[in-house]
Amino acid sequence: MTTVRNSPETLDAPRRTGGFAGYVDGIRAVVGMELRQRLRSRGWYIMLAIWFVLVGLVTGLTWYIWTSEQNIHAGFNGSAGALIYEIVLAFVLLLALLVAPAFSANAINGDRAGGTLAILQVTLLRPGQILCGKFLASWIAGLAFLVASVPFLVIGVLQGGVGIGEILVSILMIAVEIGVVCAIGVGISALANRPLFSIVVTYLCVSALTLGTLIAFGFGALLSQGTVMANQIYYKNAGEQYGADGSLLPSNLKQIGGVTDQDSDYACYGPLVEQPAVRTDRVAWLLGMNPLVVVADAIPYPSNDSSLTYGGGMLESASQAARAAQAGPDSTTMCANGKIGPAYFGQTTPLWPLGLGIQLLLSAGIWWLGWRALRTPARRLARGTRVA
């Protein structure tokens, strides 16, 4: 008889009070439970091993291509470090976006199918704690993949040409992007009934962010026809030039009147005329949501336009293209408003905070819906849902 009887006082009295510490401890308990299960599953290690081999393969191939390129063109512009770093980084980001849904998008409905979600819900855990715990666990799992690819990024750094700040920021941003995908996946897994469905939907979300944003930007730009006020361009180093009316321009700048702006190469002159232009600035936010743009744009690069430290690599080009789109025709059209636009967009006009902000808003929206679906006692249930 004594085995059962455990007077409530002894167990209840010093029960930790709720509050913030209690809330965090509940999240930690969920995270601990999830990670412990993950560490005991063999599939997890197989995935990590495949990942490691894949990233290693890409690094090796990049290295090989670079050296053979070196042999053909002596003095090939750029350093091996920068090339390896950029390609590996882009590959890691892409692959991470593909892997992250696999262990976030069934986090909650997988438990529901296994009958363990209700067991968690009947404890003192709140819906937010379940969401946070599952999210953190899947994020940590995703970060393990990022950590597994760090050695290859370090190879790039050791080859020179990449600053330590650049690599830290890029790893940080990839970590954030993995977090965004995990957050979306966990939120959808709270909403959808079946794990298969939520995994597919999460993959669709990832492709919407990576490919969909590019397509949407393209269509959006086509639909955003506008005008810009600009005058004529004069190329100082060119031979014969024709004006807007087809007449031959004088070869000497001094002979043209009304120069509004000039530098060593160009001059703008003449009256401002309304010209058709694509108002990319209206749809640049779509481009900003692209994870690659977020990562590329966040990586610091020196804001100068001539002496490029690592050869103006593709990440920098992506960032510059995105910033040009954001700046719109007022900055990208030559002689818009009579001014020579900047050839280079500095750190003062980054696009990534906007893009990341939209991504976080999207995740927050899905989480809010997921939180509603996890509330107990449940009032509404999705069709076909079984609580336990």
Binding site: T10, G115, I119, L124, L381, A388
Partner: protein
Amino acid sequence: MSQPREAQQADAPGGVEFRGLVASGISRNFGPVRAIEYMDFSAPAGQVTALIGPNGAGKTTLLLILASLLAPDEGSVRVMGVDPVANPSAARLQIGWMPDTLGVWESLTAREILLVMGRLYRIPKSRLAARVDELLALVNLVELADQPARVLSRGQQQRLSLARALIHDPAVLLLDEPASGLDPGSRIALRRILRELAAAGKAVVVSSHVLAELDEIADRAVFVNAGRTVLAQTVDQASAQGRRYAISALDPAQLAGQLTRLGLRFEAGSGRRETVSLMLGAEPDAARLLHDLVLAGVAVTAFAPAGGALEETYMSMDAEQR
């Protein structure tokens, strides 16, 4: 979604504060399906209440509502006076729930599962390890405590599930089909544990199909069918309302003749052996009949209730439904 009914219904008839679990007038729909309609249910502290009904009668839905997982569309629930819809955390400290689907984290060990559950109920770390050991001993899983749960048999997982439901020493225990999958030894152990819990002042609710077993465990029973409460009675009442007895004798013809002489209606038994069965009133009636038969020289070899007291009610209820 309709408003829950007013709270005063939670009080027991007579207005005295009722200790235990009360659900009054609860309804719950799943889309167009009415799973529960105006069901009343109560489980007093210190007693084992059986929840009996055919498949699809709404037993599991009722238990989910009582376990604070589902909100009733109408009606109210009070767990030791706490409304789980308004204050789920306070209610959950009082509720231990063992579902019919065995949710087990397969790669975690029994001990780990209990430790995590204790943590989720915010049991202080200093006490938790001892509490877990105590429960593992109670459900007889000490030797398997550090094996991953996937190697446990269904019955062992069932016992783990019971330990999990008890981790925070709840005042109300809701068990959905706890005996299914248990071997006879574990059933007897379960019966002992549940009686001990009731003796310790807990309100224990057991849903089960094994009716004969409930006779031994339960103090009272609530019969539900098609989403409604059909009947609530104590096991003593059930025993007193008359039940079917099976009798066999060395010479069946002599037994039949004697019963006819006594003016009793009987029918051939449904069992394998050649028996007769007949309805008798309370237990004194049965004792008198046995006495009469023996005096008349009938060589009675077996004289026993044909089924449990609750089974009798269940069968009569079922007949009414048809």
